[in-house]
């Protein structure tokens, strides 16, 4: 069994993905003629293409490499992450998809302003989008560095800047129309890159006749009892806390992932590229199917890793997927399979980073275009006193969106950033979920109520972010740690309660045109109605 990987294969795989991404961006550019193409692909993206694109940018490295590693390290309870990430789209479909598209909002701040006509709520939403986006981008850059280091032996700082530059070139040149093609391509690339090696590895495993982990004990972290590895709740979601705290942690992760997906900034931008509300629903259903298909695979890697990599240790869990072919096969086969998996992992870094960059850049550029919403909905802006071309502002925003988290990843390589994706979900669930759900279904929401709820949910989950990113790994397993590191189970209800109660107390501030806005959100586009 060859443990050493040939760096040329890994380097070639990364190069192929990067070149393919740039070629498709350029090819998409030929279709990107107008400003509307640039920002919203002229709202003509068909459901299957759009679903592939959403799947492409949603399936990040946390899905491609992380789940198998977590399952290897902590056992079956980690399966709640992919389940939650998928179920989040069902909740999105049931409560938000069609009305969000019909609202005409390009970003979450757009939605807040259209619904509540309030500058402060818009500003708070913009701040949160940027915070969530950066929290989510940081681990992409660090993961890219880790992957490049494992497969090519490059220094671990190199991967982040490589991803950052490729993303910037793609996003800044082609805009939404060409990125849609790139993202859709990358979903299918990731699925193939995970499925094809798995087929080979399962055949190898079958030939070996090794026992599956059913006979193994706990996860590598040693949580739970004898059979703890295969039971979902023996040790709690952290794999460290047992008992009721463990149960709390599991539920908190469920709340964060089920309700957080709708508040991720890169998701909302994609909804606006649907032709209408009905297409938005069908797109979401497509995403549910594509994610369900993809998430069948990583747990199998986790199980195989248990059978072959039981001495790899916790530190190697993150890169177990990349090392598995080398542990199970030899020579050329191992090198080829590793190269395919590397290509998939890099596609994951690129697509998620591109999606987030578009979202954050959109919000940042709106902040500098004086028309307020000029960048997102070119037709609706007020005439500005001074003018920056929306496309120029977007490109400047894209540079900012990428540079800050990339610099942070370089400056603090030791930060436990693997958790920050989970925390991004917790923040999104505690802020944008109440704003969207109440804004769409409840006429009584006021600007003051929304702002108070955003602040309460943002501070509640933000405490969790600070504690989780600064605390040591062995911070303890008591209730205090549990409540602070996984805040969603209490911060989401808190945000809902504050929004409702403060809105009730300020009922006089309900926007006058709320009925007109409800017509716009909920009625099918084919009915000729005044939508404000």
């Amino acid at each position: 069994m060859s443990e050493e990987l040939d760096p040329r294969w890994g380097g070639a795989a990364v190069a192929v993905v990067v070149v393919a991404t740039l070629v498709i961006s350029t090819w998409g550019l030929r279709f990107s003629r107008t400003t509307s193409d640039f920002f919203v692909a002229s709202r003509r993206v068909r459901p299957l293409l759009n679903a592939s694109a959403i799947g492409g940018e949603y399936v990040s490295a946390a899905s491609f490499l992380g789940i198998a590693g977590l399952v290897l390290a902590y056992g079956a309870e980690m399966l709640w992450y992919p389940v939650g990430w998928t179920a989040g789209y069902l909740v999105l479909l049931a409560l938000v998809a069609a009305p969000l598209r019909r609202s005409g909002a390009y970003t979450l701040p757009d939605f807040a302003e259209a619904r509540l006509a309030s500058g402060p709520v818009r500003a708070a939403s913009a701040l949160l989008v940027v915070a969530i986006g950066w929290l989510y981008l940081l681990p992409q850059f660090q993961g890219a560095g880790l992957t490049l280091a494992v497969v090519t032996g490059a220094p671990s700082w190199l991967g982040g800047p490589v991803v950052a530059v490729v993303v910037l070139v793609g996003v800044a040149s082609g805009g939404m129309r060409s990125i849609t093609f790139v993202q859709a391509f990358q979903y299918w690339l990731k699925l193939t890159a995970l499925l094809a090696p798995l087929a080979v590895l399962v055949v190898v495993w079958h030939g070996d006749g090794r026992p599956l982990p059913r006979d193994l004990g706990t996860g590598l972290a040693g949580a739970g009892g004898d059979d703890g590895w295969s039971t979902p709740f023996g040790g709690g979601i952290s794999g460290l806390a047992a008992g009721p705290e463990g149960l709390y942690l599991t539920y908190s992760v469920m709340v964060a992932t089920f309700l957080g997906a709708m508040g991720l900034p890169h998701v909302v931008v994609r909804f606006y590229t649907n032709p209408d509300g009905r297409a938005a629903r069908r797109t979401t259903l497509g995403v549910l199917g594509l994610l369900g298909l993809f998430y069948l695979l990583p747990p199998v890697y986790g199980a195989l890793g248990r059978a072959y990599d039981s001495d790899g240790g916790l530190d190697g869990a993150d890169t177990m997927v990349l090392r598995l072919p080398g542990l199970m096969t030899d020579g050329l086969v191992a090198d080829a399979l590793t190269a395919v998996l590397t290509a998939g992992a890099f596609a994951a870094f690129l697509s998620t980073s591109s999606g987030l960059t578009i979202a954050v850049a959109g919000v940042l550029s709106q902040a500098v275009t004086p028309s307020g919403r000029g960048a997102g909905s070119p037709a609706r802006g007020r005439r500005p006193r001074w003018r920056i071309e929306p496309v120029t502002a977007f490109r400047v925003g894209a540079v900012l969106a990428v540079a800050v988290p990339c610099a942070a990843a370089l400056a603090s390589p030791g930060l436990p950033v693997a958790r920050s994706v989970g925390l991004a979900f917790a923040v999104a669930a505690s802020t944008f979920c109440p704003l969207l759900v109440l804004g769409i279904w409840w006429r009584g929401l006021t600007d003051v109520g929304a702002l108070a709820g955003l602040v309460a949910g943002g501070l509640g989950s933000g405490v969790g972010v600070v504690v989780a990113l600064t605390a040591a790994d062995d911070a303890g397993t008591g209730w205090g740690t549990a409540l602070l590191t996984q805040p969603a189970a209490w911060s989401v209800p808190l945000a809902f309660a504050v929004m409702v109660l403060v809105s009730r107390a300020t009922a006089g501030r309900v926007p006058a045109d709320v009925d007109r806005f409800m017509v716009r959100l909920h009625t099918p586009e084919i009915v000729p109605l005044d939508r404000g």
């Binding site: 079956a76 399966l79 709640w80 389940v83 998928t86 179920a87 789209y89 069902l90 909740v91 479909l93 049931a94 409560l95 069609a98 059913r214 059979d227 295969s230 039971t231 979902p232 709740f233 023996g234 149960l247 599991t250 539920y251 469920m254 089920f258 009905r278 629903r281 069908r282 979401t284 259903l285 549910l288 199917g289 994610l291 369900g292 298909l293 998430y295 069948l296 747990p299 199998v300 279904w441 009925d515 409800m518 017509v519 909920h522 009625t523 099918p524 084919i526 009915v527 000729p528 109605l529 005044d530």
Partner: protein
């Protein structure tokens, strides 16, 4: 741009859509019924999700014996969380799309009629 004026009761009954635009009580009823129907559907889907997936951690916590149950040789937790849950989520989503589109079709028919009360 749509021009809306006061409802012309004498000439002919106005359609539901015109009632909604004019903000009459009847239009309000149409809109509220669509909203209530769609909200009920959305909450039903989320409720089913909460009762099924949401109850799993508690069930496994209260009945640790389930950990030993195997389905075709696969531990129950794995069979559910790494397999069965995904078709289930898709099925729920498909049902929601079907029902919500049916609700919208009903609404379109309703507001197009002129013989409405």
């Amino acid at each position: 741009m749509r021009v809306t004026g006061p409802p012309r009761r004498s000439a002919r009954r106005s359609s539901g859509a015109e009632q909604i635009d004019a903000g009459t009580a009847v239009g309000e009823v149409y809109l509220r019924s669509l909203l209530a129907e769609q909200l009920r559907l959305g909450l039903a889907v989320v409720g089913v999700l909460a009762l099924t997936l949401g109850s799993l951690p508690a069930v496994f916590y209260l009945a640790p014996g389930l950990a030993d149950v195997r389905v075709l040789g696969v531990p129950l937790a794995w069979a559910v969380l790494a397999g069965a849950v995904y078709p289930f989520l898709f099925l729920l989503g498909w049902l929601h799309v079907r029902r919500s589109e049916a609700n919208e079709r009903d609404f379109v028919e309703l507001v197009a009629r002129r013989d409405a009360p």
